[in-house]
Symmetry: C2
């Protein structure tokens, strides 16, 4: 069998996405395995942002709402996302954060389901998702109840009282991917809706929201979509729900005619009715630029490469003799994992810090999880081999036990 | 009496804020009277944004949450705003949009007022404010009712059923400024709270939120604060309310320990508990830079110059013999007006477009209002005179009746 380096080089040579790497502005000395937390900047993202500042804001000023179509930017970002999610362009809009967008969709569900009183939420989901459901339920003065259950038990709890299931497709900590199609089938058979958080899916997994029959989805722009820190999120609403949206959280940009300044709220048709206030145009310009980097990338190639990078990382750990020093907590089966691999290690924090100092950037989740993201547009197989080798070196030297690595920083 | 130009030059010479004009990157050929809608970019805003992209996002990547303190950016923007609002730094936070922030505060009010069932909202307020109140009331299934009354009647409707008054300090259309101190006094005497929208106040009026006894306030970053298109908004909560905040709309960034990823929501103390999702860091960096331009500016100087610019504009219109061709709908008394002057004209739309083509940028509000904003940091008295002279020329030539000006664009 060929050596690891030879194999890495061969994979890189036959990688259909290899040409995309040069679009990103990553420091040459690092291997960035944290695209699942904050994607890196690309030349397109910088170019769009720069145009937005220098030409649009600086020179054309307020007129840019017309001349540079700032007014349709949420829809244009949505349309750029559509091919990555298997959606129609008019089913998506970009705005606000996941928290805020979840609140809008959940409040619509609550406003439109007079007969059902339960929201079924996934235990272990990203905290925001359940906080939002908690806050909304409290506001209804007891009309709506939350039921929090393990993902494996969601189907079994679907009864005629459940208005909707709120869940993530991929678990942020473990990287496990759930069978959304199955949940949708069970939910719909019981007259319930499905609201799916795609934070760890968008831009990296092959999605077909139509085929999956997902009703509503949210996601963020700053992870695998590389839209920049805190980039605006997105909302997907299947077309069949476009006529009946009744969010409780609204704003003038979602009005059917915002510049008539009407006293009462009449939503615009479809997803546009889910806009609230004036969107953060600068952040949105960077996201629009970042999405250009996905042009012409088949979703199946993105997912296949991400899995191939992860598989090669696992192979390298095994062949370097360190696989048994870390406990993989992500399922290895492709259909059951997202684009990250998570490992447990008793000294995960120090290990993560030592890796970062060595130029291999992953992240840590308390109390002992190391997460590595395999973002397909900017990573090479050679990068991944380098990361595995650095991990081997650090484990061998036990440098990760050094106080300079184990002392906690505020955030990771 | 000296001529208009001589007076303009003399005012410019003695203007204590004149040195700030060079901080802004305005095209030399225009007079920008639309800072009440979108403030222009400054060198500081560009510098902060550029640093955020080139050094922080590009080079330091995910580590910037720690090393560049992205995690405290909402608080740092809040602290920069404090001297402009007469607030303590820890009473302010920057995040989301006015719509979303209003929803958080109103949901707190609704969650914490078990005995009162009415929200008193101001007729003619900026539409978003009342849409948000409408959406929230609907969600409570009848527990909360809205009462919409004219500003002059607010005090009279304050009774023991009113939980809070929701109003703007300055009317977005007419530029009229209301007596917040008086409303606060009446409200508090009746056990009600006051939530004030400062969209057209922040950065341009002398505010002392403490002295005014305002309970809660919101505002945006993109008008007189010059933070960029769709810049994040802000929330003010008087310290006396910091122990009891119960917003229904929450998110992980408002949790007391976001990186513990706890299953249940426990808010951080004070205004930090009003954060929701990950904030748009790029947009917030520009806003933080823009606020640097206010450093050392006394609020009374900002307000005084804004009023002086407006007064000089009115003088110029009178002396140029065109005052009677426009109907001023803003009170002239300083205490009763914000930083804009609004005029009615039967052909306001064409007039606005003709002015824009001549390099004088104001804006139009249907059906016949022309708005001119007198932003004190970047405008000179000579600018204002030039605007009045262009208006005179356009009115005299009647060029504003030309079809190229009267044909409506999508947005103004």
């Amino acid at each position: 069998m060929k050596g690891l380096l030879e194999r890495a080089q061969a994979y890189d040579k036959s990688d259909p996405l290899a040409s995309h790497q040069s679009a990103f502005c990553l420091p040459p000395s690092i291997v960035y395995l944290d695209g699942n937390s904050l994607g890196p900047v690309s030349a397109n993202a910088k170019h769009f942002l720069n145009e937005c500042v220098e030409q649009q804001w600086q020179t054309d000023l307020i007129g840019s709402w017309n001349t540079h179509q700032w007014i349709t930017m949420p829809q244009r970002v949505g349309a750029s996302l559509a091919p990555l999610l298997g959606a129609e362009p008019h089913e998506l809009i970009s705005c606000d954060s996941i928290s805020v967008n979840l609140f809008k969709l959940l409040s619509h569900i609550v406003n439109s389901c007079s007969e059902r009183d339960t929201l079924l939420v996934q235990r272990g989901n990203f905290p925001t998702d359940n906080y939002v459901a908690q806050g909304l339920a409290q506001l209804t003065s007891g009309r709506i109840t939350l039921k929090e259950v393990d993902t494996a038990d969601l189907s079994r709890h679907l009864d005629t009282r459940v208005a909707a299931v709120v869940m993530s497709q991929v678990n942020y900590k473990t990287g496990e991917r759930y069978d959304i199609a199955d949940i949708c089938e069970h939910a719909h058979r019981n007259g319930a809706l499905v609201l799916c958080d795609l934070a760890h899916s968008a831009g990296v997994l092959k999605l077909d929201l139509h085929q999956l029959k997902v009703d509503f989805a949210v996601g963020c722009g700053y992870k695998f979509l590389n839209g920049g820190p805190g980039a605006p999120g997105f909302i997907y609403v299947a077309e069949r729900h476009h006529n009946h949206l009744q969010p409780a959280l609204t704003g003038w940009m979602g009005h059917r005619s915002p510049f008539d300044f009407e006293a009462d709220y009449h939503p615009a048709h479809g997803v546009t009715g889910l806009l609230t206030g004036t969107p953060p145009i600068l952040s949105m310009a960077a996201l629009l630029g970042a999405l250009k980097d996905f042009k012409g990338c088949a979703m199946e190639n993105l997912e296949a490469k991400s899995h191939a990078l992860g598989d090669f990382f696992l192979t390298a750990l095994a062949e370097l003799g360190i696989a048994n020093q870390l406990t993989l907590i992500t399922p290895t089966e492709h259909a059951r994992r997202g684009a990250q691999l998570s490992f447990e290690h008793p000294e995960a924090y120090g290990l993560c810090q030592a890796l970062i100092e060595a130029g291999v950037i992953g992240d840590f989740r308390a109390p002992r999880i190391l997460r590595f993201g395999f973002s397909p547009l900017f990573l090479s197989f050679t990068n991944v081999l380098h990361a595995a080798e650095m991990l081997q070196r650090i484990l061998a030297s036990q440098s990760y036990r050094d106080a300079k690595y184990t002392e906690r920083k505020a955030v990771t």
